[in-house]
């Protein structure tokens, strides 16, 4: 009896998982595509040294970028050494790890369009606010 229940639940889970496979395959391929199409040195070229636009550009391009967070740290470290402001770099890293435009279609299909769009917009604004707050807090430490 228990075995039959387990078997039924396993088949149910498998069927459910099979449904999401095209989405997972799609996202993985899209992530890989975007990594190849957007070269790493592109990110270093978007900052101009402007105190107001740099954080905004950082958050925008961080949102579009995808891949391992390690890559964002490496690019962020490189940007800091080139004199890009900490606020811009923080916004860039935060948007990279919390906003996912590449994953947005998958998030919309599985968790709901309204949820996915609202969550990503709020995460984008948060990236800018946290970047600013982090810099202010560090000034007082």
């Amino acid at each position: 009896m228990t075995f039959l229940i387990l078997k039924r639940e396993f088949i149910d889970t498998f069927k459910g998982f099979k449904q999401v496979l095209p989405i997972i395959f799609g996202v993985v391929m899209l992530v890989s595509w975007s990594i190849v199409v957007i070269p790493k040195n592109f990110y270093t070229s978007i900052f101009s040294g402007n105190k107001f636009t740099d954080p905004l550009f950082g958050a925008i391009f961080g949102s579009v970028a995808s891949g391992s967070p390690i890559t964002s740290y490496i690019i962020g470290g490189e940007l800091l050494s080139q004199g890009v402001s900490l606020v811009a770099v923080t916004a860039f890293i935060l948007a990279w790890v919390s906003v996912g435009l590449i994953q947005l279609p998958a998030e919309s299909i599985l968790l709901g369009k309204r949820f996915a769009i609202t969550r990503n917009i709020i995460s984008f604004v948060s990236a800018l606010i946290i970047a600013l707050l982090t810099m202010i807090t560090l000034m007082f430490l």
């Binding site: 989405i23 390690i70 900490l86 790890v97 968790l111 995460s123 560090l138």
Partner: protein
């Protein structure tokens, strides 16, 4: 005719087809980049296999042990502080790419998980404990501590806002 066919295609297959079109487009523009992207995809697939199995196991176990009433108690409308803590800790501890967790969260959402907690879980995926030493190496300990504190704090604010906005949109 085309509209009828499009209506029959589910969004998930449509999405995969759109990605394949992007690959085809890249193939016409630059063959070596396409090859690189395909190799990258295969490598990424290999990397996510353990997470794949982990999420599958979680989904299977949740089907057995987490019936809707339990999900509702832990991360549902009446979960309270416990729900926030579970979502924060779950998000921080979960590994692998964010999209691998969408199926499990969708399943939990269907069983009664609050939108707030889904958003909190997803936001805390940005706090990566295994990568903290690397972050310290690049940005220093004070930066990492301050940033992590704000990320966890804002995950809660985000969770509240996401639900408020969704409710607001529904009511209007």
């Amino acid at each position: 005719m085309i509209n009828k066919i499009l209506d029959k295609i589910s969004p998930r297959w449509f999405f995969l087809a759109a990605v394949l079109v992007l690959y085809l487009f890249l193939l016409f523009v630059n063959f070596s980049l396409t090859k690189e992207a395909i190799i990258g995809s295969v490598q990424l697939f290999k990397q996510i296999i353990p997470v794949f199995l982990l999420v599958f196991t979680f989904m299977f176990l949740s089907k057995i042990f987490f019936k809707p009433d339990k999900i509702s108690r832990l991360v549902g409308e009446k979960a309270g502080l416990k729900g926030w803590l579970i979502s924060i800790i779950g998000g921080v501890l979960s590994s692998g790419p964010i999209y691998m967790w969408y199926p499990l969260l969708a399943d939990f959402k269907e069983k009664g998980m609050r939108d707030s907690f889904v958003a909190v879980f997803l936001y805390n995926r940005a706090v990566k404990i295994p990568l903290i030493p690397m972050m310290i190496f690049y940005f220093g300990l004070p930066f990492v501590l301050v940033l992590t504190f704000y990320m966890i704090l804002f995950s809660i604010i985000n969770g509240i806002l996401v639900e408020k906005f969704i409710d607001f949109k529904f009511k209007n």
